[in-house]
């Protein structure tokens, strides 16, 4: 009579396979990663992480998720923690869905002295969100405070989708934000 041997329950997180990773990354993303990885010696694939994450984030409409980070790790054959570290460190990577337009108000010393804090307050009230949140319609993402964006001469300033806007006033802010689709 065979007896049923007792079995431990298993909850093991297995590393993603390369095949699975290739399925998650679009051909364009993979091409982009290959392009960057080729610039470094084979033993220094880790150097391509930032470029790879940028491509993966782009394919995913502006944010990363765990599966994509694991896919980047598996594709570059790196321990996933290396990818998590880079993705969580750099402010250009988003780890959750965010609004279409990214708005960052500089609050570093020069801007702060020129009233950046009241600009932030104005925007938060106008959009009904606080820094770090996106509007419910998915239009605007108010990014966490930026460090100096090197436009002190035009303080206070903000960056909207990589475009600098200087000498901000509430009226200028209305004009800029209302023009966003």
């Amino acid at each position: 009579m065979p007896y049923d041997a007792p079995i431990a329950s298993l909850d093991i997180r297995m590393p993603m396979s390369r095949v699975e990773a290739e399925g998650l990354l679009t051909p364009h993303t993979r091409e982009e990663i290959d392009h960057w990885a080729a610039k470094y010696p084979a033993a220094r694939r880790r150097s391509a992480v930032v470029a790879a994450l940028r491509a993966a984030q782009h394919q995913n409409g502006g944010h990363l998720n765990e599966a994509l980070m694991d896919a980047v790790a598996a594709y570059l054959n790196l321990p996933p923690i290396y990818v998590y570290e880079a993705a969580s460190f750099y402010s250009m990577f988003e780890l959750r869905p965010v609004g279409r337009h990214s708005v960052s108000v500089c609050t570093n010393i020069s801007c702060m002295l020129c009233g950046a804090e009241s600009i932030v307050e104005y925007i938060e009230k106008k959009l009904g969100i606080v820094t770090g949140e996106s509007t419910a319609d998915g239009r605007i993402y108010l990014k966490q405070e930026e460090e100096c964006l090197a436009a002190c001469c035009g303080a206070p300033m903000m960056m909207v989708d990589h475009v600098y806007h200087e000498h901000l006033t509430p009226e200028r802010v209305d004009e800029i934000l209302d023009a966003l689709e």
Binding site: Y3, I7, I12, Y84, S88, F89
Partner: protein, 789 residues
């Protein structure tokens, strides 16, 4: 330019090797510089800044851990500038550190606490809120209190550089930086517990030890870890007569500053509820506790009566390879004193046909430290990472230094270093695979009959030839035979092939034995064919497998659970059940044992026993008991000594374990060299229709103590998932991942889930040995049928 630089630290002129960092030189000369991130076994991070010192002509204080010495350098470690910098750094480090020392396990042995006493301010100037960091679940071994973390990154560097498994990292930045795995998962390395030691604060502490005792309440005793043949040196921390925890004892030649998780957390198994606390005897089927005198008289009478009826064949003695030299020696002396010749410790071995040719005792073929300097290593049937973790660490260091480590294994095991040559074949094809490596060797090998035919019939492969030439080209090459060779039914043939390959390529030949003291057991004479010190015997006895196959009227077991520790559990159990009288020296009383034993004598396991282990490099390491055994349990050597008297045997009047050791040592010193003509083993016919079972013993199933250590049993390495095979074999047999299958070996038959594992070669199915689920099955390596349930 000379190799040394002359520098001055705190007014003392010192000679230092050029390129050394200031902190290394200071440490070597006993000059204390405070530090957190610096650890001499890890890379330099220089991120905590605690070791800032003043260097003459440098405008700012410099980190002593990252500043190389230069000729004429003048360093002041306690000047106003240095002390000011150290105080300021200390203040920064304490800003976010909680003041929870009274409830912190690290309290009393905390580097932050110590340095804060020396360099901290009495009053904090920081009145803002401290940051709070969520704790991480790193699995059953490591407790976390991440708010206490000071970001020294020692644990991160340990994972990357020593464990070879980067799992911990620093995510987020600035004030949001956290140490963790990011995605919650258990840290999964066989060496993970060492992060507890490298963590300078109470962020990473031992989970089983949590809130058990204060550092200053415990006594520290030195001993040797009993789970593998490295014999890692450990401190056992003791309070109230109980082992509270185990930490590494530094020994650069053996375990450096590390220990495996198995050696660190196994102590929990000492306090299992199955501990046998008093001698017990069975009369008319009923177990009853009794005193030592009665139990020893009962056991002696039982053995004497077997001897009077059956003479030299009266009973078989099976001794654990974890028994000390003293225990193994006294046991064989007692058994042979009774005129009985069947004794063995090679419980899992399957082929004994070449035992006369074996050296005096198995060994690594070089020292542990020398492993690091090898240029090429071929592992045959070995996965040191999950068998002898500390040896694996040495191999990893060799590999990082450029050595070419190659494997010939029955599964494509994961290594934490680069593998430069890989042959993965089912166990039944290992002989052919090793023969093709030998036939690929350019140098002519001297082959004994039997081996010649196998080599001539071997197929040629590029991989095999590449391995042979890598071994031959290396100045220092090693060929290491793992447990899968010892347990292999064609083990003798594999050893003969390995010996020929080693001599053809100039490689040293070593064996990785199981248990803490296999070498000691050989030297002490716990063998059927040789006495202590390799003395030849007039009447050799049966080996471990034969004395089970050829069932004996009685058995004497020392420190083993036959259904888990023997290579063929079904055979072992049926032999025990069929015997007239079974006497057991044991630390634990299991249900199975209660059914087949007639008398159980409680002996003291590791930490409660004194004795000697001989490790895989032949190092004799003696140890004292750290705690008294509980109840009536007594050290095995004392029980054997008294039992020798009870049996009226000559020469059992020892006063101490040292006296026994001395006797064995002098016998070993007088040992004559082993001179026996080469011979090869036999080929084993493998049934074509069956799969070959690969029954490796999981890391945490190695012995009775480990099997009872709860925290270790919760790790991934201890998880038993069923029978695994590769997708090709599964498809052929109509088995699906997750489905149940019926597994048959001989008459034994069990039902288990199937999982697909493509690391396995075709024709082979992995079903671990040494675990209760497989205790009803047949040989570790042998034919096995797997069919859909």
């Amino acid at each position: 330019m000379s190799d040394t630089a002359s520098i001055e630290i705190d007014g003392r002129t010192l000679e230092a090797p050029r390129g050394a960092m200031i902190i290394e030189v200071a440490d070597r000369h006993g000059i204390h510089i405070p530090r957190f991130c610096y650890h001499r076994k890890l890379s330099i991070a220089a991120n905590c800044r605690m070791c800032l010192v003043e260097v003459e002509k440098a405008p700012k204080p410099l980190p002593a851990c990252a500043t190389p010495v230069m000729d004429g350098m003048k360093v002041r470690t306690a000047s106003a500038l240095a002390a000011g910098a150290q105080k300021a750094v200390m203040e920064f480090l304490l800003i976010n550190h909680p003041l929870d020392c009274p409830i912190c396990d690290q309290g009393g042995e905390c580097e932050l606490q110590d340095v804060a006493m020396g360099y901290g301010r009495g009053v904090s100037r920081f009145s803002e809120r401290k940051r709070v960091v969520a704790d991480k679940n790193l699995g059953p071994l490591i407790a976390t209190d991440m708010t206490r973390c000071i970001h020294c990154t020692r644990c991160v560097r340990f994972g990357e550089e020593i464990a070879g498994m980067p799992e911990l990292g620093a995510t987020g930045r600035g004030e949001h930086m956290e140490i963790g795995t990011f995605v919650e998962q258990a840290v999964d390395s066989e060496m993970s517990g060492n992060v507890i030691d490298v963590c300078p604060v109470g962020a990473l502490t031992s989970k089983p030890f949590r809130f058990q005792a204060r550092a200053w309440e415990m006594g520290s005793r030195d001993t040797v870890a009993p789970h593998d043949a490295v014999g890692s040196n450990v401190h056992v921390h003791v309070m109230g007569g109980r082992v509270k925890r185990v930490v590494p004892r530094e020994n650069e030649a053996v375990n450096e500053v590390w220990i495996s998780d198995r050696d660190r957390f196994s102590y929990e198994g000492l306090y299992d509820e199955e501990r046998l606390l008093e001698p017990m005897i069975r009369r008319n089927g009923e177990w009853s506790a009794c005193g030592w005198e009665e139990a020893l008289a009962f056991a002696s009478r039982g053995l004497r009566s077997l001897v009077s009826r059956h003479g030299a064949d009266a009973f078989g003695t099976l001794v654990s390879p974890n028994a000390s030299v003293e225990e193994a020696y006294l046991l064989q002396k007692m058994v042979r004193g009774l005129g009985v010749s069947d004794i063995d410790h090679r419980l899992r071995d399957a082929d004994f046909s070449d035992q006369e040719q074996a050296p005096l005792c198995p060994s690594l073929g070089c020292s542990l430290a020398e492993v690091e300097t090898r240029d090429a290593v071929l592992l045959v049937g070995a996965w040191p990472r999950k068998e002898v973790p500390i040896l694996n660490h040495r191999l990893r260091k060799a590999s990082l230094a450029g050595a070419r480590v190659m494997v010939l294994n029955p599964a494509d095991y994961e290594f934490n270093f680069r593998v430069d040559g890989r042959i993965v074949v089912s166990p039944d094809a290992m002989v052919d695979a090793l023969a093709s490596v030998l036939s690929g060797s350019a140098a002519p090998a001297e082959l004994c009959p039997g081996v010649r035919e196998v080599v001539d019939g071997a197929s040629h492969s590029e991989d095999a030839a590449a391995i042979a030439s890598t071994l031959a080209d290396a100045d220092h090459a090693s060929l290491l035979l793992g447990p899968m060779v010892a347990r292999h039914p064609e083990g003798a043939l594999l050893r003969a092939l390995a010996r020929a390959l080693a001599s053809a390529t100039g490689a040293s030949l070593g064996q990785l034995t199981e248990g803490a003291n296999a070498a000691g057991a050989w030297l002490a004479g716990a063998l059927p064919h040789r006495g202590p010190g390799g003395r030849s015997l007039e009447r050799p006895g049966r080996d471990a497998r034969s004395m089970l196959r050829d069932a004996r009227p009685g058995y004497l077991l020392f420190g083993i659970e036959p259904e888990l520790d023997c290579g063929d559990p079904a055979l072992a159990l049926s032999a025990m059940r069929g015997a007239d009288f079974v006497a057991v020296f044991t630390a634990y009383r299991s249900e199975a044992m209660s059914r087949y034993a007639d008398v159980m004598l409680p002996i003291a396991p590791y930490a409660e026993n004194s004795g000697t282990f001989v490790n895989l490099e032949g190092r004799w390491q003696s140890f004292e008991a750290a705690v008294r055994p509980p109840g009536e349990a007594r050290p095995g050597w004392k029980v054997l000594r008294v039992m020798g008297n009870v049996l009226d045997l000559e020469g059992f009047d020892y006063l101490s374990a040292e006296e026994v050791r001395g006797e064995v040592e002098s016998l070993v010193e007088q040992a004559a060299p082993i001179r026996a003509a080469w011979r090869s083993g036999e080929r084993t016919p493998w049934p074509r229709e069956a799969l070959c079972r690969l029954g490796s013993v999981p890391l945490y199933a190695a012995d009775a103590i480990v099997r009872r250590a709860p925290a270790l049993q919760q790790t991934r390495d201890a998880a038993f998932a069923g029978v695994s095979l590769n997708s090709a074999a599964a498809a052929r047999l109509g088995l699906e991942d997750g489905a149940r299958a019926t597994v048959r070996q001989g008459d034994a038959c069990i039902r288990l889930p199937v999982f697909i594992d493509d690391r396995l070669p075709d024709g082979c199915a992995c079903l671990p040995a040494g675990v209760p689920q497989a205790a009803a099955l047949g040989p570790d390596i042998g034919p096995m049928h797997v069919t859909p349930a």
